[in-house]
Symmetry: C2
């Protein structure tokens, strides 16, 4: 019936086993040290790389290919993909996936089901409930207690990514303000959402999608390192009220994207309480600090939030994606999102009260819980704490190297956590006094980071991201991969210095 038969021992089974073996080899023996972080190629070069196996395009009458060709194609995928588990991949706010999480994800994929009803996902409903209870407990949200076992209505939901989870939170906030929202649509009263200048741009995107518009988003000033100024928030909320706008929600950021700054949650909670405003925490990046006894103080006040989003696929090494939306009042989910479809949420079936699908916008969701559950069982709370502490230790090490570099590297902002933002300084500009730079030199310095980055990519020695900070492109080391060692930090900084020196002289 198919071009390839399906019986065990068949070509499909052979192909399946061979691709699985490739993937497994990659997981248990990932690249490190001098192995390339990327074998960078242009789109045309990538097209050429697939030409000898199956071809990249799917033509007008795409033929089946034999197992050898498909396995060769899978090898090409591996060969030219970015190695995000490499200890010298410090480029992104995810890195160093946990191998247990990978195979937990594989188990979920093998059992392919939708996390919508107990009927088709009984185990996954219980695992999700246990995890959400534990996460909510860690964050200080009210729960039945993590030792009580899974509950029908857990304190939240797993979502495909932080932006989707934010959409849920803001719609719940809007629904609390306007109980007929679901049927009647948004009323005419203008609403305002508050987020810091350093907060994630997802706030504006969510406001646009919800029909509020980005004009409804008020950007609140921050301190030098990127944490929200609570006095500025109070003024902004007062200004909104004075302009006849209702404060819909304050989005406090626990771990900003660039500097990993933590907004002062307790003071923000006070401001929200005064206005009766929904208090949301964007903990996508930084909420994992809660796992470490040494660092959980950064989120003091998290227990007062109405909602919090936490991406376990960032610092905690889950595969993409593993996002928990935690809720103080999870019963709001059904009130806001239920549709009661009778072909799926039959009221006359067994254990239908567990069904999560009718509490969600999505209905069917990929199972993101089992990988986290399996990893947590293997690592324990102590293992999760160790991952955070190691990340900060490596960040501290890099801060030490930078500070001992005699001005070769200059730190720009520093929140003492996992992000290290710095410039490499050409010898002729040391010691760097940013205020003294001419526009021309400033512009050359700004154009240097992309050149250094291109060299990293071309040689595959490291990957580190950059972005403008105070008008100059600065590099940002992001630590979370437990495989990073001091020698990796040294090597990455050495490469940046070498490329910098070579590129600086050729920059016009």
């Amino acid at each position: 019936m198919h071009s390839m038969s399906d019986a065990t021992g068949s070509p499909v089974t052979d192909l399946t086993r061979r691709v699985a073996a490739l993937a497994l080899d990659h997981v248990v023996d990932p690249p490190r040290g001098a192995d390339p972080v990327v074998r960078f190629a242009s789109p045309d070069e990538l097209v050429a790389a697939f030409a000898s196996s199956v071809g990249l395009a799917l033509g007008a009458d795409a033929p089946p290919h034999d197992a050898d060709a498909v396995v060769a194609a899978a090898r090409t995928v591996l060969h030219h993909s970015v190695q995000t588990t490499h200890p010298r991949f410090l480029n992104q706010n995810f890195a160093g996936v946990d191998p247990v999480a990978v195979v937990g994800d594989w188990l979920a994929a093998a059992l392919n089901t939708a996390n919508s009803t107990y009927e088709i996902a009984p185990v996954f409903h219980l695992l999700e409930s246990a995890l959400l209870t534990k996460l909510a407990d860690v964050a200080g949200f009210p729960t039945a207690g993590p030792d009580q076992g899974p509950v029908e209505l857990p304190p939240g939901l797993f979502c495909p990514g932080g932006s989707i989870a934010l959409l849920y939170a803001l719609q719940l906030a809007r629904h609390r303000l306007q109980p007929d929202l679901v049927t009647a649509g948004a009323g005419p009263a203008p609403l305002s959402i508050f987020v810091s200048e350093a907060g994630h741009y997802g706030a504006g995107k969510a406001a646009a999608l919800l029909g509020l518009g980005t004009d409804a988003v008020v950007e609140v000033a921050t301190d030098h390192d990127g944490a929200m100024d609570p006095e500025a928030l109070r003024r902004a909320m007062d200004d909104a009220v004075a302009a006849d706008r209702t404060p819909l929600a304050v989005i406090a950021t626990a771990g900003t994207t660039v500097t990993c700054a933590f907004d002062p949650l307790d003071e923000i909670a006070d401001a929200c309480a005064e206005h009766g405003t929904w208090f949301h925490i964007d903990g996508c990046y930084g909420a994992s600090a809660l796992f470490s006894p040494d660092h959980r103080h950064r989120l003091a006040g998290s227990h007062r939030a109405d909602s919090m989003v936490w991406n376990l696929h960032k610092m905690m090494g889950m595969t993409q994606q593993c996002t928990a939306l935690l809720l103080r009042e999870p019963e709001r989910l059904a009130a806001c999102f239920s549709s009661g479809a009778d072909y799926l949420f039959q009221t006359d079936k067994q254990f239908g009260e567990w069904d999560s699908g009718d509490r969600t916008y999505q209905c069917g969701r990929r199972v993101d819980a089992v990988k986290l559950w399996l990893t947590w069982k293997a690592r324990g709370d102590a293992g999760f704490a160790a991952r955070i502490d190691h990340a900060v230790a490596m960040a501290d090490f890099s801060r030490m190297v930078i500070s001992a570099s005699d001005g070769a590297f200059v730190p720009l902002v520093d929140t003492g956590f996992t992000n290290v933002v710095f410039l490499w300084v050409p010898p002729d500009l040391r010691p760097l006094v940013p205020g003294d730079l001419t526009d021309d030199v400033r512009d050359r310095l700004h154009r240097l980071a992309p050149r250094i980055k291109a060299r990293m990519q071309a040689e595959g020695t490291a990957l580190v991201g950059y972005q403008p900070v105070h008008g100059i492109n600065a590099f940002r080391l992001l630590f979370m991969n437990p495989e990073v060692r001091p020698e990796d930090v040294d090597a990455v900084l050495d490469h940046i210095a070498r490329y910098g020196a070579e590129e600086w002289t050729s920059l016009d």
Copy 2:
């Protein structure tokens, strides 16, 4: 640093290999025949099942567990999960995952990256582009042609599920009507969305989330089998305009959830053209008919749509989730969703023009493309056609058995495609004349299906869904698993008849 070391040969590697082996065994040798479709257990029984390994809950100070315990837990997950690849799982609009898709998904998980920038996902950007071009070509949307190779701006996007994709489509439609939507928010003019009575409830959910409200959704009458009546649509649109509402979008359904009916796309396109209304196709379930030369006529007119959503994780056996949103004018994505974050979408980096993240609401997306690409390369267009044709052949076989059953089974609606909706009739009610049933008998018949379903679950012999059709719970066989054989159909129907006979006599 961790409770379990990470070096090759370590306990973590041992655990990783053992869980991977469990998952792989399940994929290459899935349950079939008399193997249980489910080992159904209550929540309390599931908690008990994990008690001997790691425990289900994550307690207040969750300890690490050794590899033996975690592997035992993974076995329990497998043991008690629903076997959606079993040929007698005919319960859901997904089933029979393709083993090549599973290991393609594994490869993506092993390479764990976010599909946001070319920089961190170069290969995946090209594969996604090639796939979207091919899918758009199959649906008749304008493309550069599938033989041309990947393009920077592909005709769509992969999304985590049909509901999220619908949200994109409706926001794009609203943005076409109101160019200042993103900044100013939704204007006060009331909008209307049209979908058939048999269409997916996701339309109302999307309307609520966008701030339009479910009151904006107009349900259009269908024919007996569930296909939209185009004359009723025209009247509904005229009524809306007469009431000073602007028609925002018509959602035509290609494959309704219960009967897999196909709305008349060409006539709907005509109505949309007259009103300048966005023409969206919900092809989540049925768009895969396009792969079969024998069945693609059911979507005649698809080439005229502005957008179409297509869940390849339904009929085509991709793992959860693999949803393509196809767009006639993909340049609308950036106009509507771009934020231009400078730490991610640097304008001075290489091949940034390929970055998909700034064209999406989500930014980072799990890689859903590689599994579809690898499977398509292995199966070819002919293999994809064969999967659809086999599904219809098995549905036809079940229709034949039902029609030859001397009234033991009665078909209720029939669109001649992959869904078969029917009742089992107790001997004392044969031949069934629904109009002659007393309310009491009708009520008993309605309560019979849940009893039969509970027996299936208790014995694990089959899983088939039911829902009310004309007021009586009716079973619905959903065919798409290529492993289904006539003997599976016979066995499932025999079980239903046996459970029905046994339960009917005990129903009060």
